[in-house]
């Protein structure tokens, strides 16, 4: 793809080092932080010999906003809104992981309806995230039209989110103790309409890419990495599954009643860009299956836990019951105390293992929250993946990692 060189030239001048006779063709190329294929602000320092990458150094931190520090001055419930902004393509996965961690500290029992609703919406989040990945990955490699189709379906998912929470992206719909609001009237029809057509739409994407000679030429055998290297370098998620390891926190460490759902964990052996593409495509089909099961088997009942000290009371009760009014006042003004302790909650986000380490000192604000974003771990393996490959393949390899810089830098 010739556009890479053009982009590099227009972004920043490449500095050629023609000083020594022994290395006449070496050059350092500064890719990013505003390169279109880095999807955010990742800077890569590439040392090139002709078109071959000799070494790569990722430089992160351009999107660091100090979210972990911010957690320490927010009440537990307030901090849910911070989690949306970490991985902005999978806000509900981050909501869920944080809520599960704090609920573990509080030892709260979440009613089945809320759990199933959480599963359904996080799976829609996975679809949302994978659709953005597929569209942008294809556009990076040169298949322009896929992007438009992906964003057509993504738009419908965002509308479903808006219907539930009033927000398209920063939903904060999961709260400690359950859901923020009662599911809206008519959500079943909306989700059903989407999930009825979605599998055929995945076929449509596949008809554009799988089997396409150019697509296969650009992705097969590209970006190979061995399973041992991946585990050692901290790579997780679809990339591990494309290397043959059937690992998925939804199966191995089920949370939020994922064990009640019937789905498969797709794997491939090749561990190249094409295998990762196949794994994610299959994951979209599996997620659609989960959404359908959640839709059809959605239990009835309350959508928040029976914990008046944690969950805000209903508006109606506040107007008629003294206790409800007092609890509301206390929760809003001074939060709720969380027992001393520490937990590390892991879930399977669209990008891999997402972990929240929450330390409580017994007060109403978290003492320390550490977020292990999957993109951080995955990006660390990037140099190993692209060293020795051609510069055009760097774009394909980057795309196959599916990282989000907000998740990396926090």
């Amino acid at each position: 793809m010739s556009s890479i060189d053009l982009d590099a030239r227009s972004d920043e001048p490449a500095t050629e080092t023609r000083t020594t006779q022994s290395q006449p063709r070496r050059m350092t190329l500064n890719m990013g932080p505003q390169h279109p294929s880095t999807h955010g602000v990742l800077r890569l320092l590439l040392e090139l010999d002709g078109e071959t990458v000799l070494s790569a150094k990722p430089d992160i931190g351009y999107l660091h906003t100090g979210i972990e520090k911010e957690f320490e001055v927010k009440f537990y419930q307030q901090a849910v809104t911070l989690t949306d902004r970490i991985d902005y393509l999978a806000p509900l996965s981050n909501n869920l992981c944080y809520c599960l961690a704090v609920e573990k500290l509080l030892q709260l029992e979440i009613p089945p309806r809320a759990q199933w609703m959480r599963v359904m919406l996080t799976e829609l989040t996975r679809l949302n995230s994978h659709l953005v990945w597929l569209g942008t990955h294809a556009i990076d490699i040169g298949a322009m039209s896929v992007f438009l189709y992906c964003f057509r379906e993504r738009e419908e998912i965002l509308r479903i989110f808006e219907m539930f929470s009033g927000q398209r992206m920063m939903t904060s719909y999961f709260r400690i103790g359950g859901l923020a609001l009662a599911p809206p009237r008519g959500w079943q029809q909306r989700v059903k309409k989407f999930i009825d057509i979605f599998p055929s739409r995945v076929d449509e994407y596949e008809s554009l890419l799988t089997g396409n000679q150019i697509w296969m030429g650009r992705t097969q055998g590209v970006g190979y990495m061995s399973l041992e290297d991946m585990l050692d370098l901290g790579i997780t998620g679809p990339m591990l599954r494309a290397a043959g390891l059937s690992i998925d926190a939804r199966k191995q460490e089920p949370y939020s009643s994922y064990d009640k759902f019937d789905f498969e964990v797709p794997t491939r052996k090749e561990s190249d860009v094409f295998a990762r593409y196949q794994v994610r495509i299959e994951e979209m089909r599996q997620s659609a299956r989960i959404v359908r099961q959640a839709l059809e088997g959605m239990p009835e009942g309350p959508f928040t836990a029976d914990a008046p000290k944690v969950v805000l009371p209903e508006r109606e009760k506040m107007k008629t019951q003294m206790e409800a009014l007092i609890y509301h006042f206390k929760i809003v003004t001074e939060g709720f105390r969380v027992p001393e302790g520490e937990v590390y909650q892991v879930i399977e986000s669209p990008r891999g293992e997402l972990g929240y380490y929450v330390v409580s000192d017994g007060t109403a604000k978290p003492y320390r929250v550490h977020i292990h974003g999957p993109s951080f771990g995955n990006l660390q393996g990037l140099p190993k993946m692209i060293e020795g490959s051609l510069i055009a393949d760097v774009i394909a390899s980057l795309g196959s990692m599916d990282f989000v810089l907000g998740d990396t830098d926090r």
Partner: protein, 145 residues
């Protein structure tokens, strides 16, 4: 969950809460313990390394490692306590290469130095930044003058 066999030789304190096992280890023995975990107990992955600042109490810092055994589907938390004066600990990169960035992050935000680390530089903050933002005595707002 029980303490994996052989790990008791490193453990100072062991406790389990919320189904999660924590093992406290003397900081001098961390590399030894990590290598043992990786090679003998098959904890193939290091999930994350982070720190907690217990300011003003001493020992001030806790360095926390979350390790993961994929083959046995087990997780374990290691903890080392470090004093507030010049906190230093050996790098776990000897066992898992993924410790590299995690330890850089801890160095960047807490100012804990990792001995024998291949590339100990700031990772998230600008390289010329003063102070360590996640320390408890570092203010949440304000402008550096």
């Amino acid at each position: 969950m029980t303490l994996p066999t052989g790990l008791d030789q490193f453990a100072l304190v062991t406790y389990e809460k919320f189904g999660e096992l924590t093992v406290e280890i003397a900081p001098e023995r961390i590399v030894e313990a990590c290598l043992f975990l990786k090679h003998d107990l098959k904890f193939e992955r290091l999930s994350t390394v982070t720190a907690v600042d217990r300011y003003p109490s001493e020992p001030r810092f806790e360095v926390v490692y979350h390790v993961h055994s994929v083959s046995r589907n087990e997780r374990l938390r290691l903890k080392c306590r470090l004093a507030g004066e010049n906190p230093e600990i050996d790098s776990a990169t000897a066992a898992w290469r993924s410790a590299n960035w995690h330890e850089r992050e801890v160095f960047d935000l807490f100012g804990i130095r990792f001995r024998n680390h291949p590339d100990l530089r700031r990772i998230l903050m600008p390289e010329d930044w003063d102070g360590y933002p996640l320390r408890k005595d570092y203010p949440i707002t304000g402008i550096q003058v």
